[in-house]
Each structure stands twice: as structure tokens, then as C-alpha cells.
């Protein structure tokens, strides 16, 4: 099994990102990844699991998630119902302990990758509740008096969209990496990886339009890598001629199939206004 991560054929990792991942693997510490939406934070975990050949456990956090749910849940309501119905299962409390993602990862036979996705969506106390679990990689099940310990310290990836600040005690236990928005050259190789053999002209024109749209001041949601890839997919599906793109100087007209790049109507509206102004001042 390979133990160094160097990116995959579908995922271009910059050097600082590779360093971050490899340090997290070597020292078995959680890696906290931040960055603009759509820069491949979640996908990173999948690619690491793929390239190292280990199983991936994903724990997607919602605003209602509690730290305890990652460990285990005691389904008291089913037990109450079973007792009312006279089910025999009711005498063993173990029947009502549901394993969480963290527990599953701890039990894995080989070293797994555990993704804790969008940790900032959860309650402000959520990260604090996981301190000991991430540090010692063990937790205690009170209902069954059982200590669950990780067989192999999982490679833990945590992503955040910066909606909430994370507590210092939590940050101290993690490595931190901020995925910068790719520059034009990296972007070129990313597109290359997803659409091999893409016509050079189309790629060049598409990237120009894309970066122009990104530069537009006041956009609520700047288009990111994933939007660019979707857009190129559309361009290919519609078989758009590169020349048609060249005509669409982003300042004068709205780019073709802009729905893939601009995700809310205020942005589209803003864009139309700008285009209108530019036309008038021409």
C-alpha cells in the first residue's frame, strides 16, 4: 500500500496541499481544510482514500448534528416502544445502540480515511465535544460500559466553509490548510485532467471568460472550479464553437450558458446591468 499522497489522475494537488496531507498521515493528526466553496475540499478525502487504497467513511455535518451522533446513539424511543409491545429484544440495551461514523471508522480493519464534512455547519460547541475523541481516538459508551478504541488511527479530514469560527483548543489539535483558488496554470491542468483532449482554443477562450466573470466586482457567489468544470461540460455537450465564445467579451455580453457559472438571480441581474452599462459607454 502506498503511503504518500501525490494527487491522482483526477485530482491535481498543489505542493503545499500534498505536504499537508502527508504530514497529517505521518503524524496521524486531523487535517482541517478551508477554502472557497467548489475548490475540491470534499473530493480531496475521496481521492486520498482512492490513491492509498483505504476505505472512506464520510460524516456530513448538518446544523442539527451533534457530536454524540458520530460516536453512537441510544435509541431510547424504539426501546420504549418495544417494551410496550413486549418484544424480547428490550432486555439487552446493546440492541438499541446505533454506531456512528466515528465508531465505524475506529473499527476498520485497515487504516481508514474519515471525512468530517463542513464542520462549521454544526453548533458552536460541536468541535469542543470531539476534542478527546480526536486526540486519543477512543471514547466510552456509558450505556454498555464499553471503551471503543481505534484499531488504526484514521486519517481524519475536516472541511470548513468558514461560517463559524472554530475554538482554539480544537484548532491546536489539527493541521490547517487553506486551499487557495487555483491560478490560471493550475486551472488549465485541472481542466486538462477532467476533459482530456479538449480543444486548446476552446479551453483558452473558456478560461478567459471564466476569469473575467470571477473578476466582476460584487458577485454574491463567485464561480469556482466545480462551476467551471460543469460549464465546460455543457459547452462540450452543446458543441459550442470557440469562435462563439471569443465574441462574448464578458464585458459586452453575457457568456453562453451562463446558468452554470452564475448561481443566483441577483448575480445574473448585476451582470446584465454591467453589460448594459458597458454597451452604452462603448
Amino acid at each position: 500500500m502506498n503511503s504518500r499522497f501525490t494527487g491522482t489522475e483526477r485530482y491535481i494537488a498543489t505542493e503545499d496541499l500534498m505536504m499537508a496531507v502527508n504530514a497529517a498521515i505521518t503524524l496521524a493528526r486531523p487535517l482541517l481544510i478551508k477554502g472557497e466553496p467548489g475548490t475540491g475540499k470534499t473530493q480531496l478525502a475521496q481521492e486520498i482514500a482512492l490513491s492509498l487504497g483505504c476505505p472512506l467513511y464520510e460524516w456530513h455535518i448538518k446544523s442539527t448534528s451533534k457530536a454524540q451522533q458520530g460516536l453512537y446513539e441510544y435509541d431510547a424511543v424504539s426501546r420504549l416502544r418495544d417494551s410496550q409491545l413486549g418484544d424480547a429484544r428490550v432486555h439487552d440495551i446493546g440492541n438499541y445502540i446505533l454506531k456512528g461514523r466515528l465508531w465505524e471508522a475506529f473499527e476498520s480493519e485497515v487504516r481508514p480515511v474519515l471525512l468530517i464534512d463542513e464542520i462549521d455547519k454544526a453548533d458552536i460547541e460541536f468541535p469542543n465535544d470531539l476534542l478527546r475523541e480526536l486526540d486519543r481516538m477512543e471514547f466510552f459508551v456509558y450505556e454498555t460500559r464499553q471503551l471503543v478504541k481505534a484499531r488504526h488511527r484514521p486519517i481524519i479530514l475536516i472541511t470548513s466553509n468558514n461560517e463559524k469560527e472554530l475554538p482554539d483548543a480544537f484548532l491546536r489539535r489539527c493541521f490547517f490548510h487553506y486551499i487557495r483558488f487555483p491560478d490560471a496554470a493550475t486551472m488549465r491542468s485541472i481542466v486538462e485532467v477532467h476533459f482530456p483532449g479538449l480543444k486548446q482554443e476552446l479551453l483558452a477562450e473558456a478560461l478567459t471568460v471564466f476569469f473575467e466573470v470571477r473578476e466582476t466586482p460584487g458577485l454574491k457567489k463567485k464561480p469556482s472550479t466545480s462551476e467551471l468544470l460543469d460549464w465546460i461540460k455543457l459547452l462540450l455537450a452543446e458543441d459550442i464553437d470557440p469562435a462563439a465564445l471569443r465574441g462574448t467579451d464578458a464585458k459586452k455580453t453575457i457568456p453562453i450558458l451562463h446558468g452554470a457559472l452564475l448561481k443566483n438571480e441577483q448575480d445574473v441581474h448585476l451582470f446584465e446591468q454591467l453589460v448594459f452599462l458597458n454597451r452604452r459607454s462603448r
Binding site: 498543489t14 505542493e15 503545499d16 500534498m18 505536504m19 499537508a20 502527508n22 504530514a23 505521518t26 503524524l27 493528526r29 482541517l32 478551508k34 446544523s63 442539527t64 424511543v77 420504549l80 416502544r81 410496550q84 461560517e163 463559524k164 469560527e165 482554539d168 484548532l171 491546536r172 489539527c174 493541521f175 490547517f176 490548510h177 487553506y178 487557495r180 496554470a185 466586482p217 460584487g218 441577483q266
Partner: protein
Amino acid sequence: MLVNFFFELRQSGVPVTVTEFLTLLEALRERVAWVSAQDFYYLARLCLVKDERHYDRFDRVFAQVFEGAEKLFEQIVAQIPEEWLQSLGARTLSEEEKRKIEALGGWNKLLETLRERLREQKERHQGGNKWIGTGGTSPFGANGYNPEGIRIGQQGSRNRRAVKVWDQREYRNFDDTVELGTRNMKLALRKLRKFAREGAPDLLDLDGTIDATARNAGLLDLKLVAERRNAVKVLLFLDVGGSMDDHIRICEELFSAARSEFKHLVHYYFHNFLYESLWQDNRRRSSAMTSTLQVLRTYTHDYRVIFVGDATMSPYEIIQPGGSVDHWNKEAGAVWMQRVCATFPRLVWLNPEPVERWTYTTSIGIVRELIGERMFPVTLEGLDRAIAELRRPLTRPAPVSTGPEPPPAPGF
């Protein structure tokens, strides 16, 4: 040297702790980064910095502390025994590349030449086609174009290294220099919370459940309700530059406390007083202005508005058209202020100037009159009173305006 680096970081305001420093040392012992200044930079940043806003400060300290240190790394590389390089080459080179090396006379020849050149070369070298260094076409060094080259100490993408990464300082915009100690402010702001039940019902409604179970002849009937969430929306206008420079620290504390406290928080900057345009990013102030009209249209009247500014300026900047210090404003600032007051009934002005000095500054008096005496000092007590003001129900009559009726907003 590293201890020195640690203290330099702390002094420049990057919150590093001993634990994180020990982690870095552990990682170095585990050879995560090795004989490359760049790798060391990435690793140190990974271990010591926990917030992208501190990247810029980290870069500055790194550049300062390790100036000239890349030379040291190069010297270390020069002393690497040849077996290491050979085994490295055997692992990383493809068959084709190996054949090319053979073409040049094989590993031994290559290494011999390398050693010879090291003897000749005394200084760090860049470009050219013979010496070891960066960016050249010599077989030795990093980032070169020679297919047979030994890349010393660096792997991966080429041609983008001409500038050291930490000298580029790409993270400048994130640095907001917020000190710790915003907790008190957060607690004060917390009072503004307004809870509403929103989202999916996933909390046990105890009263409802007992009631329903009883009606159900004792068989359990669960009732759920949605969780309560903070639904308050805040629009923040911040004065920047000029006389506000004295109050930067407290404003940043306030800003970062507010940002973590409210889910719906939008901020805009202005200079001295509110006119027809605002901006959200100080660096792109000239290119990315937002029209105040647009702000008035975009946000609904249930947004609470907080102004932060010292309101200390020449009275003309408020009451005269064209009074602004940095541009020609067609309509007086006071008119714009009245429009904001009319759109957002719940509004306060936080003033970092000490209260004792308010009466001595004419412009503060004018602003207070404009906004109906809703100006409060930036102290915990003042913040409390401001929040109480913002919490008032909407039935309160709009402040009595002293000036003429504000003209209707021009069309667009």
C-alpha cells in the same frame, strides 16, 4: 534558530502555542519535510498557523527570520552521499529517463560532474546553463529544463518557483489583525438574538407528547417541534481611515465579535460619512463600489442597522452637497442618512470616541440629531444600551427629522 522563529511569530501576533511548536519539531523528526526550504515553509505554516488571516503575517516573519537560509539548505544538499540520490533516482525515474541518464554517461558520471561543479561554484546561482541553482538548463538544480537534470531538493511543478512563495504574500487581504478578547462583546451582542422556530421538526415537544399520548390511551405518540434559531439580521456600516485610525483595534474586535454572533451579517465601509456609494473591500475600494441606493433596496426593513464611526468631521461634510473630503457628492450626507433612517427603523450609531468629548464636537451633535439621539459609546455598557434600542418593537414612531423632508430617491 527555530525557538527564535517561534518567539518572532508570537511577537508579530500569530497565536502560536508550545504544543503546535512541538508538533512542528515532531514532524521534522519524522522527516515530513526534508532538505528543502520550500517544504519546510509549507510544513511550518501547516503546523503553526490555524487561520488563513494569519498567513500574511506568517509569511512576513518567515521571510525575515529565514532570509538567506535557502543557501543553508543548498549546502546540506551538496553533502548528500551519492547512494541516497541513486536510490531516490531509482524510485522516481521512469525507464525512459534512466536511459537518458545513461546517454549522459550514467549516474556516476553525472554525480562526478556535480561534485566537480560544487567545488567550482561558490555562490547561489540562478539561470545560466552550467552552475547548480534554479531556473537554468544545467543538469543540476531545481526547476530546470534539462530532461537529464538532477532536481536537487525540489520536486513537482517547475517554472513557478522563481519567486519564493513566502515572498509573494498572497494572503494579504485576510489579515484583519483581530486581537483576542472579543468574548465580552460577543456576550453583549448575544442579547440581540431573536429566536424563531425554523427548519425541520426534530426536537421532542414534551408537553405535546404527553398530551397526545394521554389522548392516545397511553400508547406513545411523539410530537416534535423545530429547533429555535437566531433569526436576527444585521447590517453593519463601518467608518474607515482618517480619524478612525485611533480606534482600529476596538472596531475590529467589534466586527469579529459580530461576525461570529450573527448568521445574517452584512457589512459596508464608508469614509467619514455616508454618501451615495459604499464598499465592502477596502483594497478594491475604487473599483468595487456599491451604490447606497442598491443597499437600501436590497435589504428589508427588518434588518437592524449598526453604524460604527467617530462622527468627527467638519459639519460641512454632513450638511452640504459637495462637502465630502474625497469626492464631489451631489446630495448632502444628511439626506442619505435620512433615507437610511426611513428604510431601517431600527438603527444605532456606535461611537468609539469617549462620551465626555461628544459635546465639544459639532458634527457629533448633528449626527445625533439626525438619527434621533441613538448614538452610544463603544463600551460594554454602551453596547448593552444600543442592543436594547435595537430590540425595541417596531411600533416606536420614527425619529423626528429636523431637516426638510428627504427628496425621494432618484430613479435608476
